[in-house]
Amino acid sequence: MLEFSQQIVNGLSLGAIYALIALGYTMVYGIIKLINFAHGDVMMVGAYVGFFSITMLGTNIVVAMLAAMLLCALLGVLIEKVAYRPLRNSTRIAALITAIGVSLFLEYITVVVLGPAQRVFPQSAFPIKAYNLAGLTILNKQIFVFVSAVLLMLILQYIIKRTKTGKAMRAVSLDMEAAVLMGISVDKTISVTFAIGSALAAAAGVMIGVYYQTINPLMGIIPGLKAFVAAVLGGIGLIPGAMVGGFVMGLLETMVSGYGSSLYRDAVAFGVLIIILLIRPTGLFGKNTGEKV
């Protein structure tokens, strides 16, 4: 039982990271029906911005995270403008292939500029402490990851539900033409969606740096794909689905590592994708029926 609870603790913090990345996938899909395969790489850029903020500017971890979020928000907007917007009215496969192109571009431009070697996230920025709670070991980095991820998700929920911009995002994703007739600028709304999604990914990147302590230019690939599976699991396009999907994936991964073998954890993650696509392609929260009248 203790072992099980320990795995839950580990899974929740990992799941929080996946959930943050999955949110960006699902928001972008919700609004322009594009699987933005460069999303995991935006997360990687965020991790590097955090790294340099700490090592070169000497900031603390919170400032590093905010800097990463800000810069990646701009990067996300730029990617949409340069790569996806010109293809808005072309086939979806064209945009998808472009997304893979952007992904490779970000990965290898980072390799060229910063080198392929992995870097160690400075311990001094986040000295690890362990707490003991009824036999459970809880690390302060786990608390940090979980609390800041949940906080960001609450802020996102507030933006989407309560602010004018958030409502416009929902309107555009529900019916683009009707939204235009309200005077909503579709271009602006899509830019905001990329900015928010990319900022969340950047935060996740810094968290991964803190959590695993190493970063490298290809670090976005596997977490990005797993977050994509999480978004599909919850129902692509649905924000609560991405959150739940992220936590499910995180818990599943730690359980597989804890009770089976960590060799299988990636296979299980992608096995989930195959199973969900076979039996419930709309995801846990997706509706199979058409729109209600």
């Binding site: 004018k164 416009a168 309107a171 529900l174 235009v180 909503i184 600028s185 209600k292 009248v293």
Partner: protein, 234 residues
Amino acid sequence: MLAVKEIDVYYGAIHALKKFSLDVEEGSIVTLIGANGAGKTTVLKTISGILRPTTGSVMFKGQDLVKVPPEKIVALGISQVPEGRRVFQTMSVLENLEMGAYLRSDKKEIQKDLENIFLRFPRLKERRKQSAGTLSGGEQQMLAIGRALMAQPELLLMDEPSMGLAPLLVKEIFEIIKDINSRGTTVLLVEQNANMALTIADQAYVIETGEIVLQGAAEELMRSEEVKKAYLGG
């Protein structure tokens, strides 16, 4: 107020509007009637800036709308109740109405307009927290009208507001349109229900395959043999 002048609009290879012209005078109700696929919706989409004409002009209060982005057209005072209502299904009734006022920032005025719309449509007030998709067809139509009014339009474009509604509701909707007009909003009404549309309109146009075939005062058109035969059931 609005002068559509000799516009040509294409849907891919389809020539949807051919040298189409139409005038709307301030304060009036103008109706555009015609069969399914005649190009009625295309006219409204072109005025709203969703479709663009290859030739011709769309003058509104002395400004050509042809190059104005759609969100600016709303700001100029034209809003549309689209065909099939197109309410935001999973958003609440209140949120739908707020979206209608998207370009406005005068909070007090918005609140006042909201109260007026709830006064006009009490059922929307009762259901303001429900998601729009759970409303009946008639209620969704009222919501779509209320949403368009929240933009404080000078010209209201309505695309088949009677579509799919029971006869009693159709009558109610037309009463509402008359009332909206009597309070100073100009209305351009596209309809297949020619009978009802001609009853409330001042001016009328008949469109067939992208071209105006008849136009005149609504009363006259109602008496015209051609219109009777083709659109009024004998």
